[in-house]
Amino acid sequence: MSVLAIAEQRDGTFRKVTYEVVSEARRVADSLGTDLAAVVLGSGVEAIAGELGKYGADKVLVADHPALAEQITEPYTNVIADIAGKQSAEVLVIGASSQGKDLAARLAARLNAGLAMDCVAVTVEGGNVAATRPMYGGKVLAEVALNGSPKIVAVRPNAMSITENPKDGSVEKLDVDPGEGRLRFVEKKLETEKVELTEADVIVSGGRGMGGSDYTLVEGLAEVLGAAVGASRSAVDEGWRPHSDQVGQTGKTVSPNLYVACGISGAIQHLAGMSSSKVIVAINKDPEAPIFSKADYGIVGDLFEIVPLVTEEIKKRKG
């Protein structure tokens, strides 16, 4: 029996969620009294693999193959399913990133594994594995009992703490067969400067109150905070911001340390998507806006006046 932590790397660098996955998988392995193997897939990734020992991996299995250079669900599923069998995996922990979710789903079907998608907590009691996960965009939290063997927990990015817990982390290179490769990689395009909403520690969002596509003020505040920029659905529907910026039940569910809502009234779908943020700030000219009922700190006022002042204050404080 073992626990597998599936690492996610992009172009030879681990994604932040990987450290969360390995840390959480270590806790699960300890609760089950078993070993933890981290699995790194990619091409030319052997050199980075050993780092995962620092977060509690007893060993790191490396699936290195040109066909695994890009994360594509089918070959990744083929390789991981094979490893899960050979390692008698009891639990697989995967990061619920965009591609991680798809991988977890295909693996669950392949292995007939009980899957908890996008979990925010994992509990092990008497050998039983359960997970807490939001449903209805965060309007409800479900406690899901997982059966079958193995079980898969796909953990929400930003939800699990990263814990250093050095173990051996010896690297073992595996012979792998990614399969026939029915999906052909064409291209990948990245906006390198962009902080991803689901991974961000701080988010500054703008809504209908922005009045147009000029987000300079929101971006200015985001810059001093090192924050990602989000938007409400109405701002996206107006065409002011890209679809990928939408926070809410039909967009992205986020849980940063700090969420600053500028000119967002707080429709129920938006509130569901950001209510698990640690600290919420709302700036809105309407004192009756529902967003204030969820906000730890609210300022009633004109965002065009308030936001630049807040930006300046933070600059001063940060020196």
Binding site: R15, T73, E74, A96, S97, Q99, D102, A104, A105, R106, A109, N112, G114, L115, A116, M117, P134, M135, Y136, G137, K139, V140, L141, A142, E143, V144, A145, N147, R182, L183, R184, F185, V186, K188, K189, E191, E199, V236, P242, H243, S244, T253, L258, I268, Q269, S275, F292, S293, K294, A295, I299, V300, G301, E305, I306, L309, V310, E313, I314, R317
Partner: protein, 259 residues
């Protein structure tokens, strides 16, 4: 081109969701039910592909009697046929069970392309579409915001954190939708009238040759809870905007310690 759209009827996203008396399900009285928004993108994209290339769009869903309304809405948007799998045993399944049922139904119909929502906005499981592809033994591409079909191949652009990846595969393929793929049309009045006469077939698990005993769930909801209540509502006072801004930053730094 035969296109099958996997669809789920869900509570409208403006719904307040409350936990039911059993602590494991939600209260369904007074809920308005709609096509899951990501499945609407799937219906729309299927219609656009058919408009460009010809063919047939079939709506496939698992649900109770009232799910008929969602299928009729998709037919009113322009889909050609609907299949509703309505069976008490199907309603007791978990996500993998539903995927098995959908796969069994797909095996009874011709298809070149299957389109599904990336997730249903009730369970938020991100599971069923991908699992159907696995059970059908076809490739899948998730979270697609642009696709292009030519010469029996499909090219899909999927969103990933901070960017996109484009993948190509020979049909048949299953892809799941991402926001930005299209703007779903509304059902027109003539569309609604026509939809009433379009074929909508209801099937049981027996019709699909499925023994309910093979649908043993591997996940179970043990409890549902409302999320922790937030103690919001604190308004920062001040004579001027500058005072309010200064006070906010002070509180964020010294009290909340998030700066």
């Amino acid at each position: 081109m035969d296109i099958v759209v996997l669809l789920k009827q869900v509570p409208a996203t403006e719904s307040i969701i409350a936990v039911g008396g059993d602590g494991k399900s939600i209260k369904t009285d007074d809920l308005k039910w709609v096509i899951s928004p990501y499945d609407e993108f799937a219906v729309e994209e299927a219609l656009r592909i058919r408009e460009g290339q010809g063919g047939k769009v079939t709506i496939l869903t698992v649900g109770p009697d009232k799910a008929t309304e969602a299928v009729r809405t998709a037919l009113a948007m322009g889909a050609d046929e609907g299949v509703l799998i309505n069976d008490p045993a199907a309603l007791a399944c978990d996500g993998l069970g539903v995927a098995r049922i959908l796969a069994a139904a797909l095996k009874q119909m011709p298809f070149d392309l299957v389109i599904a929502g990336q997730r249903a906005v009730d369970d938020d499981n991100y599971l069923v579409g991908t699992a159907v592809a696995e059970y059908m033994g076809i490739p899948n591409i998730s979270m697609v915001n642009r696709e292009e079909i030519a010469d029996g191949k499909i090219k899909c652009r999927q969103t990933i954190e901070g960017g996109t990846v484009t993948l190509e595969a020979d049909l048949p393929v299953l892809f799941t939708t991402q926001r930005g793929l299209n703007e779903p049309r509304y059902a027109s009045l003539p569309g609604i009238m026509k939809a009433k006469k379009k074929p909508l077939e209801t099937k049981s698990l027996a019709d699909l040759g499925i023994d309910a005993a093979t649908l043993q769930p591997v996940t179970a909801i043990a409890a549902l809870q409302p999320p922790p209540e937030r103690k919001g509502g604190r308004i920062i006072e001040g004579e001027t905007a500058a005072e309010k801004a200064a006070e906010l930053v002070k509180l964020l730094s010294e009290e909340a310690k998030v700066l």
